[in-house]
Symmetry: D2
Subunit: 352 residues, 4 copies
């Protein structure tokens, strides 16, 4: 006998919502319940997510407690700032659903950092949905097994964290001077129509943004690296939009710590990820690409030591919509439901 | 009356050769002479460069002194290692042509660095074809005015150098810990058919290579930054292939030097490029994209100070085939011929 | 209890082989056996198919009966002309495997057409692996249930056939003047390194090929439309390579038959595909895109009547590697093994 | 001594306006005057067209007679329906400028067709700005030499017309059953932010639209082919958006006329374009690509006879923003100003 849980998705017309549904359709123990939207309420899902054929004729309901109550799991794929009201309403209605917020609202524990980077009052932190995060030598998955509210990480944050945390935890890199540059695809920017996100603008162009440490993912990476053991973190973070829909390729460098060597660096990464089902350390001398993880919940990682520069170079490729968002949410949900962590998730990419 | 010079292009069937011809067709004082190739000798140029309609019926001659002698200018767009023989044969034949080598053979002054990164004997250095390079407070263009042999810079090198050199020359950044990550298009990898360069592999993928300080452009950047005034240079350098044909977007960071500030940084970049016709410092708060320089000889540059990270972030966008290769060659040729430096070159990009 | 079958893949290093493995990994009743290659024999699969993480350490064996014998199913993803020898050797070795050939060798029943378009002796026809093909009012799946050797259709052929066959079978279009133009992605051209398939050539370019009726898929489409009921078929067929890795969008027009109307046309398509699990006729007024079928075994179809032009316009979007190749092979295998036709296959695309 | 004319551009913030300015910057006899916009009036041009460096600091004025009066030439790159008011105001103000409308308002001579396809009152036809159009055996350029108001053709129309008109004029194809399928880039859809034009939607997708004869360019093609000599035109027209910014590749087929042959077809195309500076008939057996015309005012054309299908296949590749819009406008302007037709325009593409 197999237990089945019901799951609702709020924000089902967007990219994160669509990807959640794609993964949930493949999950053997989830029954998809209510699908909600804001402006698109009343429309067929097929008008927004034509690739989800089995759900094409489902009708979007207005986002609210009427639709969302009564499920075992509620995924929130809403604009930043919108999750608080929904969560409060669910609680008031007596819902005991596990709530997973794909937005940023509950990721940061530091209220001051929240207010500095988001410019709004802090809504408080929820358990952080990165099972592989090293926390004081243990892993975040232990916390997630008992969580009822989970903050799904930012996609860029996941890539940078998974790239570098083994070195931080093992003390073989110096986290006080981290430089991260990310080539990122356009689906990470969401489905709102903006001129600079048009195909005609994007094709043939490479376009940095949020340069100079202003990206909202900066304090979230810092928080993670501190969890992994960093006394002080300083992070230079630059994302560059490149013409692909999915994918993040993070190049993260940090100074080699005194006494560390190529061997101790390799060992740190191997030890950190030897037992991780979704983080794959590549054979030495091969580099991760986003093609190898498209559609999969895999983070492909590699590390090299540049003796000449005195820096460790760590690379991580993820699909921003899977391991970067929806896959991370499902993985965390599995933990919170007491299911095997890998249920319904794949490490097989869609390439070429 | 307008003087006209004749120019030959060796390696006319490749990407660099094609771009040289595209630019020379627009140059009012150049008459295109012999076009040579190796495997494709005897074929119509139109079979290899169908976009160069006015030259479609020109026939490729074998690369050698028979074809190349007798011109005022000879451009070499050959594989690394091939320029020595051609140059010697031209000299032996009494040619007094200005020779511009788009290959790497004569870029490095340090024989040991050459041998370490290229694994072959050093062929000696030629004057370096980056007119904007700061050399002991002056500019490299002064040297180029009397040069007869010119080494055209590597495309990635040009992007990194132009991004960062103002800060090095002004002493507002610390060149001992430079980190450069470049998103680069596929035309920079050349026209040889290799599996990892196939469209099916590239589309939808982000693919780093030469990670860990092994890229041959590393010592060339170091050489340039030392010319600009760095006592010690350490460079972490990672290129990432992204799905576009043309374009390099270099993100270059270095620690803010003690005593430097956002104001002194801004001033350094403004001073360095105020009079440069082909380096465009963008208005504050706007970021360079490769779309704005496609087809143009422009380097679009921006700089920001990340106080939180303690680093200066300098960005440079170029078209790797123009300012990165063929445009730089023509610009240097103009100087060597005594023509206005901007003759036949444009700062207007082809966008979107 | 669930029966499991073993499957070998010959040609596992190429695109079709890789996609077969991707699908077989998701198939609940297949155990993946030998993987073979020619030039890459002896290498790790991960060196060629890094996205297939669970198989990364499997070693490629030389293609031949030693490796391939002893399986329940053998997939051949070999260059045209190579399947005959392997099949004969398997038979000689007493293999009773179901053999599915993804190459062209056994698709055509007409030896003269084979020799005209392929220029080599005809190897004979195998049952044709398009379950949805209308054959004298029935479907090809009936034949496939007892087949032991199956010829997997060409990818372009599948798109054109599924687009138009309902109209041919119902007599509402005139198959004597069919025009098909296909926008096709680069993975359909295979993994061999050729200059015109380079990313630098493909990005930003739209490139027709095999213009004027010379494409080898022409006689195969004609064969299918005759099967569907056409007395005479004339087909103008033009493929255009466009910068995407996966996907075929076929635009197929034919004259509206005398007496036919928008209503009878709609009815023909609805009737033909009402019960097909993998052919999805879209709601009226919406158009298929390849994004909606990426990674899925779906053919998304639409039809419209252009009264002004007197033509029916039928559109079909498929993923050339799935419904166009590997998915069709698995679907046919399911039938031949007596499994439910949809086992292990999805209709959910990976988008955006 | 060289005469200079002043030109204003209304709608300078959009794609057509930007491309006009790119071409006018290279035109030796044009001085760029007022630049106007609607919502963006008051802003720097550089905020909208950062690739036009020499004009970056020019300020956009409100579109109206105040800004536009007093020029020799006025280009209108406005939404459909907006040109009438501006033109009337210019006339009322005594302007004798040559006005070139890049919008559709004055392209169609048939008021009924206008009203059917555009749903608004017909504004009347202006001389049609396709100099190469065959009109009763002569060319449209003769008309343009004396025109003061010129309707610039639609980009798709130009591609289809130039592909097929030689056959129509020579009577070697039957224009009563033309089928045109176009692969088109995203810049043709304009710069307005719409969800289906987002990069995340476009990348990896092939997306038809306006299927079934509803595209507004249909009656315009028909008008052109009638001008070229067709008694009756029937046109099936399907555009497919593909992931590139610039470029149209039109595949146009029509039945081979009775008595016509491969030789008479070839001769028709050769005769039609032998003297055309911007239409390039490729050598037999080679196919046009959009890469070869990117940034150039060239139409690359090829024709083949498919004896098996009984159809002529004509292909045309253009850059939709150059020969499809802005280049056509400048070419027509040259004629109207009495300048050599090719002034300031290039046939050299930017490739790869």
């Amino acid at each position: 006998m197999q237990v089945t849980f019901t799951a609702a998705v709020a924000g089902a017309s967007g990219y994160a919502g669509g990807e959640l549904l794609r993964l949930l359709l493949a999950h053997p123990q989830i029954e998809i319940g209510a699908l909600t939207a804001h402006a698109s309420a009343g429309q067929r899902l097929g008008a927004h997510q034509p690739h989800l054929l089995p759900l094409a004729d489902r009708v979007l309901e207005p986002t609210g407690v009427e639709a969302l109550a009564g499920h075992d799991v509620v995924f929130l794929a809403l604009p930043h700032g919108a999750s608080g009201e929904v969560t409060a309403a669910l609680a008031a209605a007596g819902s005991d659903a596990i709530v997973l917020d794909c937005g940023a609202d509950h990721r940061l524990t530091d209220a001051a950092a929240w207010e500095q980077f988001y410019g709004s009052p802090h809504a408080g932190a929820w358990p952080y949905g990165l099972p592989e995060l090293i926390v004081d030598g243990a892993r975040q998955r232990d916390t997630l097994r008992t969580a009822r509210e989970i903050a799904v990480p930012g996609c860029n944050v996941t890539a940078v964290t998974l790239a570098l945390q083994p070195g931080v935890a093992a003390g073989v890199v110096d986290p006080a001077d981290v430089v991260a540059v990310l080539a990122v695809g356009y689906s990470g920017a969401g489905k709102s129509a903006k001129t600079h996100l048009l195909a005609a603008e994007a094709l043939g162009s490479l376009a940095p943004y949020a340069v100079g440490g202003t990206h909202r993912h900066v304090p979230e990476v810092e928080q993670n690296l501190r969890a992994a053991g960093a006394a002080e973190v300083r992070l230079s973070f630059t994302p560059v939009l490149v013409p692909t829909s999915r994918g993040i390729l993070a190049t993260v460098t940090a100074p080699l710590a005194p006494g560390a060597s190529a061997a101790t660096v390799r060992a740190a990464w191997e030890d950190a990820y030897a037992d991780e089902p979704f983080v794959h350390l590549l054979p030495e001398g091969t580099w991760p690409t986003t093609a190898m993880v498209t559609g999969a919940n895999t983070a492909a990682v590699q590390v090299a030591v540049d003796e000449r520069a005195g820096r460790v170079v760590a690379l991580c490729a993820i699909d921003n919509l899977v391991k970067g968002t929806a896959g991370a949410a499902v993985q965390s949900m599995n933990l919170a439901l007491g299911l095997p962590e890998t249920t319904g998730l794949t490490t097989v990419g869609v390439a070429p």
